[in-house]
Assembly symmetry: C2
Homo-oligomer: 252 residues x 2
């Protein structure tokens, strides 16, 4: 019978847990949200540039979470922030949102729960799951991330939502809270993200970091996060490549 620390093999791995930013890094929010906007427009006979609507809806995300991060307002989940931002975006683009039935409006707002993974996401995560604890480290809340995982088939081991730490990235408490929840020191946890600023905050909190470029996240006009701009531990082409690199990368 074996005696001794169970995960003795794990001490050779660079980390024990690989956590992921989700929106943009694991799932394609732009296509998913635009599809939902288009479906609503079709049903109600609205004229709308659905892709542009998705981009503008998303643009309001950072300032909204910032208001929680800076203590201007109490923590509320992304469902609430998305709903406020949906109304503001509809207003801005002249969409008569008051004509939409409540159930359809809720369905539209929940588009953020029903996003598809990038082509490499499920395969890459499935491979990583063999050797590492995998989970989202996202500004999404537990319900949103759980629904998203069911929809997209993301095989998470654990879901770390913003409503557990009640804080939004890049608040350092989010990264440290995730490590604490897994009972791991921060340097045994890696954040993988397509956003350099997220990785910078994770690195400041003591986590390991991996960058994946998602040059299509914002569509053809994307100008930011096309390349790694920091000294990250790993840079990968996509999640499958990350899995390959982590399998080969051992700290002896």
């Amino acid at each position: 019978m074996p005696v001794g620390p169970e995960f003795s093999a794990a001490t050779q791995k660079i980390v024990d847990a690989v956590l992921f930013d989700t929106f943009g890094t694991v799932v394609d929010w732009k296509s998913g949200v635009a599809d939902a906007v288009e479906a609503i427009a079709f049903r109600y006979g609205f004229e709308v540039d659905a892709a542009e609507f998705a981009l503008r809806w998303r643009a309001r995300y950072a300032p909204a979470t910032e208001s929680v991060r800076t203590g201007v307002r109490e923590f509320v989940t992304l469902d609430e922030l998305h709903r406020e931002n949906l109304i503001a975006t509809a207003d801005e683009m002249g969409l008569p949102i008051d004509r939409i039935e409540p159930a359809d409006l809720a369905w539209l707002n929940q588009a953020w729960h029903r996003l598809d993974g990038w082509p490499d996401s499920v395969a890459g995560l499935t491979e990583l799951k063999r050797d590492f604890i995998i989970g989202p480290l996202s500004n999404g809340h537990v319900a949103l991330l759980t629904n998203m995982a069911k929809h997209a088939g993301l095989p998470w081991d654990v879901i770390i939502g913003s409503d557990v730490t009640r804080a939004y990235k890049p608040d350092p408490n989010v990264y440290l809270g995730a490590a604490r929840l897994l009972d791991l020191p921060p340097h045994r946890v890696m954040l993988c993200a397509a956003h350099n600023s997220d990785l910078a905050a994770a690195q400041r909190a003591g986590l390991r970091t991996a960058f994946i470029a998602r040059p299509q996240e914002y569509g053809p006009s994307q100008r930011t996060d096309l390349h790694a701009t920091g000294a990250w531990d790993l840079i990968a082409r996509d999640i499958r490549d990350l899995a390959t690199q982590l399998r080969d990368h051992r700290t002896a």
Copy 2:
């Protein structure tokens, strides 16, 4: 393109999420803990009745969580409670625990992270996962439950640990907190447990309930929880049977 509430089919299901008590209901703690005790005894040349040690270690669990539930002490995780109880049990049974190396002691204490599922657990959960959100609703903390899932291959969608609600069952906040975290009304969540008292508390909190008998949980001398003693929504032989019953059970 489909428009309308996504989970329209789900409204015909009795619940959206099926959560599980873990120790005893999903995993066999007695065998797993006894094996670890035996391994340590073998390494150190101790004479000990490992099965009896496991039973006595476990017997200290309810009073320990009770002291948190009643506010006698602050919330601490099961790792801490298990460690205190391990020392007390060793004392009681004359095991010279001070001779055990710290790494081996930690390994022994983490036996509760490395328990195997009952023969039906993985297959039953895998079947339930197709139609329902599945997760543990356990007094274990997130790290323990995550390690347990990795060890036993439990395909949870989401892990709801005691360190998220910072409370121990049967505190009603545990059950209500789980529903809130999933953004579901309590009656759309089912607790499945092998313990009537756990189900009674869940039912008082408004959850649906399912009983599974685990007559071998405490070994051949078990006298409690051999049968359902309350008006539970479902009574199943095991988790596979629960999956079959839930598949057939629709609230039209």
